[in-house]
Symmetry: C2
Subunit: 342 residues, 2 copies
DNA sequence: CCCCTCATCCGAAACGTTTCGGATTCATTC
DNA sequence: GAATGAATCCGAAACGTTTCGGATGAGGGG
């Protein structure tokens, strides 16, 4: 069906070799024949078969993304990241191939699956820090970029926002509004970001001269329901709380609903700050003050590091913590005056 | 790096041909040598190179998905569909390759891009009905499945939910709650689903013996802001309205906010029904009554039809309208008694 | 007139598979 | 004992590219 190099060669009256060299811009072909060959290729609607190219050149023509079956609540997270990955990959003439992180495979299996398909490298998202796959990845000599899980190696790196800074910003924001008694609803400990966000919370509290009480901290699991439980628990045990930093928007929405069900007004009685800036953060009432991470540039950066490793065997991948910003909306406000005066 | 057939052949002491046939389960190889060959393959950690396989067999090893840059508000829509596509593709030993529907290309370009990469077919989502690409697609002799745009051909079909039915269900639900004056905030006319949903709205009204007034219908563009404008406009012009059917959840949230800003209680003063059941529908207040489409099975069905065409040249693709269901939540309620009595 | 250089072209091998057609062996059948 | 047939195996071609190493011919310098 599709025209091949041989067809172009026949039509143009040259050898396959010359046609290939002409089309690839090599120097040892005269301008005149190059023109003829170009025309023939045009006429036949020729496009090189990437499969054949890949086989002979050994150069990969795509990168892989492992994602999309756990943490399904992070829909928007993934979508935007994919957009970033795709834009960056396309700019380097690479395609994007998707895989489900189903039952977690071993590092060897992942790498083999990629190699088999001619992929140059892969981005892996949605891993828990306790999966032993992670330890084996760096020494696989295959370009890998992890999402939100720290890893270091000559052919491996990771991308993440500066979660510590983000959490600190959240606390500082609340402190600047006069809050002193600030609780934390965290994600589960299987996620690396949970540790970071807790660290940031603690730093923020300490830097503001506030004590860190263990009873102010609740460990949820990123689900809306756990946010609800967290709010219920924290406010029952510590009625003096006037603000909550919640380590994900979804949990924050749960907390919001629970607080309102408990008759606590947000933000009059209690302020809430989330994390992520998922789209629904804007749609709940009150709209959620949150720490925004730009998943699009996140994706682009992941792809950039990956492609760096693929194209240059000597490339040493860097890790940069992406900035994240506070988006102030309706769920946070000044502490009630009586509280301040007290 | 990776072991090849030749390596296995050398280790096992047989020819490349025999090794290939042994590994592929052909009959003309004795059980004894098959076992030896298996062992050798195991020892070398051999996996067939799919690129080479693809080149020689001409069989595709992946399908394409065009999506993801327009209508970015449909995040969850796409994520779930991708999950469905991927599960179905994986079950048929196919991979999924992603493409951005950037500047809209011609049908020829799309097909060439796929052929060049050895894809067996493609799913295309996010097209407007007025793109002329659509008319050319059916005669391309390349398996294509469109999303939410009707198309028919020996190698082309489309998937969609039964939007007419969905809209009718929404109206019937509102009627069953006693509503008589029901407005419609529709999506833009570039989307096929908008026409269908309007059709369903009209059917539902007529079947309930209600008149269809042009002034009850507002054409938005699926954005939250347009939902807001729609609510503002419709209620200013028609103060007697007690219910709105809104053709997307995002617009419905806009409408919700606008209604509340106008001092109209939802659902006490006015009921709202959305469409899609995106995740945030559950998080807004009141939680949105909406028409749910199951995007996961949507994706699976799309893949199934596509793969049917790919694997069997004689396969005639079918179109089935997927069912959609009403999910009743807090944004719809019985019409106020004074209204009923009046 | 010969040798060298340069510009232009091409044959053939290679990438890692699958498969067609044939070759070999050995038992079976007439 | 030769022909038939089944059971095993293998060589070589093919898929569509790229590229190495050479081939050809023209022009220039000695």
């Amino acid at each position: 069906m599709a025209a091949t190099l041989k067809d172009v060669a026949r039509l143009a009256g040259f050898s396959v070799t010359t046609v290939s060299r002409a089309l690839n811009g090599h120097s040892d072909v005269s301008e005149e024949t190059r023109k003829k060959i170009m025309e023939a290729a045009q006429a036949l609607n020729y496009v090189p078969n990437r499969v054949a190219q890949q086989l002979v050149m050994g150069k990969s023509s795509a990168i892989g993304l492992y994602s999309l079956d756990r943490e399904t609540f992070q829909n928007q997270f993934i979508t935007l990241m994919i957009s970033g990955l795709m834009d960056e990959a396309t700019a380097h003439d690479l395609n994007l191939m998707l895989f489900a992180t189903q039952r977690l495979q071993t590092a060897e299996e992942v790498v083999m699956q990629c190699r088999q398909r001619g992929l140059g490298g892969a981005v892996i998202s949605g891993l828990r820090i306790d999966e032993d796959l992670i330890g084996h990845l760096p020494q696989m000599d295959f370009p890998i970029v992890l999402v939100d899980v720290p890893v270091h190696g000559p052919r491996a790196t990771y991308v993440s926002v500066d979660n510590v800074l983000g959490a600190r910003k959240a606390v500082e924001h609340l402190v600047s509004l006069g809050h002193r008694n600030i609780g934390l609803i965290n994600g589960h400990s299987g996620a690396w970001v949970s540790h970071q966000r807790r660290l940031g919370y603690e730093q923020g509290m300490r830097d503001s001269g506030l004590a860190i009480k263990e009873s102010y901290i609740f460990e949820g699991d990123f689900s809306k329901e756990s946010g609800r439980r967290g709010a219920q628990h924290l406010l029952t045990v510590n009625p003096e709380l006037t603000a909550l930093f919640v380590a994900s928007d979804l949990m924050a929405v749960g907390a919001l609903e629970q607080l309102q069900a408990m008759g606590r007004g947000v933000p009059e009685d209690i302020s809430v700050v989330g994390f992520d800036d998922q789209d629904f953060a804007l749609h709940v009432s009150p709209p959620l003050t949150t720490i925004r991470q730009d998943m699009y540039v996140f994706g682009r950066l992941a792809a950039r590091e990956l492609i760096g490793m693929i194209n240059d065997p000597g490339y040493t991948p860097r890790h940069v913590d992406l900035p994240c910003t506070l988006v102030q909306r309706g769920s946070s406000g000044p502490v009630r005056s009586k509280e301040v005066l007290r």
